[in-house]
């Protein structure tokens, strides 16, 4: 195959495609892992913050008492604290860095899958471009040295999606045996991903619907057989945890339980932007105005007609006093969900204009060019004197901002004008829609992470081949998307600039 020519994989059976360019993929994956390894070496010793501390607390309790606790306001799936507990059991507190090293190695799975998607959907050249983009994707790569779940989660989610797409390919070609095995494997990987984050709980049924619809020409029985397999596999893989929860709580909990608290945070008077909220302490130390005072208030202000009173009795009248409080009657997080969901939805329905304005703000926070790498820089989390916090700080922050921005813009172009119809497009569409819709509740740059490898793939497709589809609906779709994207950036522009300045160190 001519590497520079766009292939027509949407019209050709996938089995007829040339073998994946494994040599190039392996070299680029190794290079990406090496870059992440160097970055890890440069940023150590690294302190913990936010959820990192909570994961570690759970791991310490597991190590000492042998039980997995909930987090009072949340009930997270146990996978990541379990991995942490194993690591600190074997290596003591150095186990944190061992796990970071493991994440660096595991990121190769993300890189390889990203390149495979680009190869499958576009071409060999696109795969190489995708690999290079992934290798220098700092917002994504930085998660390898954070003690957040993202690297483990993506290294399960992406292969699950890959096998799902390949299963649809093989089914289209009539290779039922391989399609069945890949659907089974995909379900197992989705199930394992649920042990890390319960995020995919509703994604798998949606994908199953897509699979059933694409298989409808084979008859209802076959469509049902295919679509039910990954769902069933997920159910079986997660069943030990579900049964454990039933034994411990006497109630059924699949995966985890975070909805109630997310509703409290996301459908309430106080606007919380988690890319900038942690900067409060540092801004206070630096004598800078708090970022929330810079925000465009129309998108964050409390619902009209609400006069905050000191509802929580802490002696201060705060924005949060205008909203609704957590449910205190139920002592367990898993029992608070339904009532908090009711409260949140009632609050939203009661204030429709506020709900609309603040949902735009959520989407704005989803597509922010900021990332947890820039957040770490802005918080001065990286060790003083290290090159990452010193000479390379500016270039690295600019690289992170540029990659986030470019992959969103060029990824949109790739989606509308380069990506052609087929299983890959169907799965990407479902995933993009899922991330966008779930971010209506709570959003931040971290919630965009499941999309980042996909955006890299689409960007690579665009860079490698430019426009291949110029139909009117697609051009209009791209224009509308870019317009919305720019509008959403404008909404959070003041906070983005302030946070970026802190990350660059130009406010000191």
């Amino acid at each position: 195959m001519n590497p520079s020519a766009p292939d027509a994989s949407h019209t050709r059976p996938a089995s007829l495609l040339a073998r994946a360019p494994w040599k190039a993929i392996a070299i680029i994956a190794l290079a990406g892992v090496a870059l992440r390894g160097i970055l890890l070496w440069l940023v150590l010793p690294l302190d913990i913050q936010s959820d990192e501390a909570n994961y570690l607390y759970l791991a310490l309790v597991k190590e000492r008492l042998g039980i997995y606790l909930d987090q009072h306001r949340y009930f997270w799936p146990p996978g990541y604290p379990w991995l942490l507990s194993k690591s600190i059991h074997a290596f003591g507190i150095d186990g944190l860095n061992v796990l970071r090293g493991l994440q660096v190695a595991l990121s190769s799975v993300i890189g390889v899958t990203t390149m495979l998607f680009a190869w499958r959907l576009f071409s060999r050249r696109a795969a190489i471009v995708a690999g290079v983009l992934w290798a220098v994707d700092l917002p994504l790569g930085a998660y390898t040295h954070f003690l957040w779940t993202e690297t483990f989660f993506l290294s399960l989610l992406l292969p699950a999606l890959w096998h799902f797409v390949r299963a649809m390919d093989r089914a289209d070609e009539g290779s039922d045996r391989e399609a069945t095995l890949r659907l089974l494997l995909s379900g197992v990987l989705f199930g394992l991903a649920l042990y890390i984050k319960e995020y995919v709980l509703f994604l798998v049924p949606l994908l199953a619907v897509v699979l059933a619809l694409r298989s409808r020409s084979e008859g209802l029985g076959e469509a049902l057989r295919r679509a039910s397999l990954p769902v069933l596999a997920v159910a079986v893989v997660t069943l030990p945890w579900t049964l454990r929860n039933h034994e411990v709580y006497g109630r059924t909990v699949i995966g985890g339980a975070t909805l109630g608290e997310n509703v409290y945070v996301g459908l309430n008077a106080r606007s919380m932007n988690f890319d900038v909220l942690p900067l409060r302490k540092r801004r206070a130390d630096l004598g800078l105005p708090q970022i929330d005072t810079l925000a465009r208030s129309w998108f964050t202000e409390i619902p009209a007609g609400w006069t905050p009173e000191d509802r929580d009795g802490n002696g201060e009248v705060e924005i949060r006093d205008a909203g609704w409080d957590r449910e205190f009657e139920s002592i367990h997080a898993i029992d608070r969900h339904s009532s908090q969901l009711r409260e949140g939805l009632a609050f939203a329905v009661e204030h429709p204009a506020w709900t609309l304005r603040t949902r735009l703000k959520k989407w704005s926070e989803l597509v922010t060019p900021l990332s947890f790498f820039t957040r770490h820089q802005a918080m001065a989390m990286y060790p003083e004197g290290s090159v990452v916090a010193g000479a390379m700080r500016g270039p690295l922050v600019l690289l992170a901002l540029a990659i986030s921005t470019l992959t969103m813009v060029l990824g949109a172009a790739g989606y509308f004008l380069t990506l052609q119809r087929g299983p890959g497009r169907a799965v990407f569409t479902v995933l993009i829609g899922y991330v966008v819709l779930t971010s209506l509740l709570v959003a931040m740059s971290r919630f965009r992470v499941p999309l980042e490898p996909i955006l890299v793939v689409l960007t690579a497709g665009w860079l490698a081949h430019g426009p291949r589809e110029r139909s009117r609906p697609r051009v209009i779709g791209l224009a509308a998307t870019l317009l919305v994207l720019v509008g959403l950036w404008w909404i959070s522009w003041p906070e983005t600039v302030a946070a970026a300045q802190m990350a660059l160190g130009v406010t000191q």
Binding site: D47, I48, Q49, S50, D51, A53, N54, L56, Y57, L60, V61, E63, R64, L65, G66, I67, L69, D70, Q71, H72, R73, Y74, I88, G92, I93, L96, D176, R177, T180, L184, E222, R225, S228, L229, L232, A233, A235, V236, L239, P240, L243, H246, E247, V248, Y249, G250, M272, F274, L277, P278, R280, K281, A284, E316, F328, S330, I331, H332, D335
Partner: protein, 189 residues
């Protein structure tokens, strides 16, 4: 495997059925869990697990757990059992005296964690108790105020491995500095 086979579905359902049967066979009733949690003859692991079950199955505050079991655990010789009384499981069942603020910390656990140091030094158990009680997630009503930081995690692991802890002055200085962090600058996730 034949094309378009339902065998994988059947195998998955059979696996699920086996898991459900095994789980049902290993089930511990709440009454039994309560009995084991209070049983001084039971092993520490058995008592901790039984308390975990009883505390999480109860849907409202249960005085037997928040008071009697906490006292029983805190009076035990085994340090792990005493530390088990400080986690969220039993802290959320705390019984507060009338007139106490609703977000007040669990009184029995607070008294234990802040009791005067024996011999003037932090023992490994005292350090672990402090971390377990004060750095849990969930807010003051369960005793946790601020998230854990790396030095505390290091001390916790050192205490388990028998590595000497820093002198009292250093630990006190650290804890005082942490307690001075403004509460309204809440650490986000």
């Amino acid at each position: 495997m034949k094309p378009r086979s339902w065998i994988p579905h059947v195998a998955l359902l059979a696996t699920a059925a086996v898991m459900v049967v095994v789980a049902a066979a290993k089930h511990t009733s709440t009454e039994e869990a309560l009995r084991i949690a209070f049983d001084g003859e039971a092993s520490t692991d058995e008592r901790l697990w039984a308390a975990h079950l009883a505390a999480n199955r109860a849907t409202t505050r249960e005085p037997r757990l928040g008071d009697a079991l906490v006292r029983s655990f805190l009076a035990a010789d085994d340090e792990r059992l005493r530390e088990g009384a400080l986690t969220i499981d039993l802290s959320r069942h705390a019984i507060h005296p009338p007139g106490t603020r609703p977000d007040a910390a669990p009184p029995l656990q607070s008294a234990y964690v802040y009791a005067a140091l024996e011999d003037g030094e932090y023992t490994p158990h005292r350090v672990r108790s402090r971390v377990l009680f004060r750095r849990k997630v969930g807010g003051s009503s369960v005793g946790g105020i601020r998230r854990m930081a790396l030095p505390e995690a290091r001390w916790f692991m050192d205490s388990l491995r028998g590595t000497p802890l820093p002198p009292r002055k250093e630990i006190d200085r650290y804890l005082i500095e942490r307690s001075r962090e403004p509460v309204n600058l809440r650490r986000p996730r």
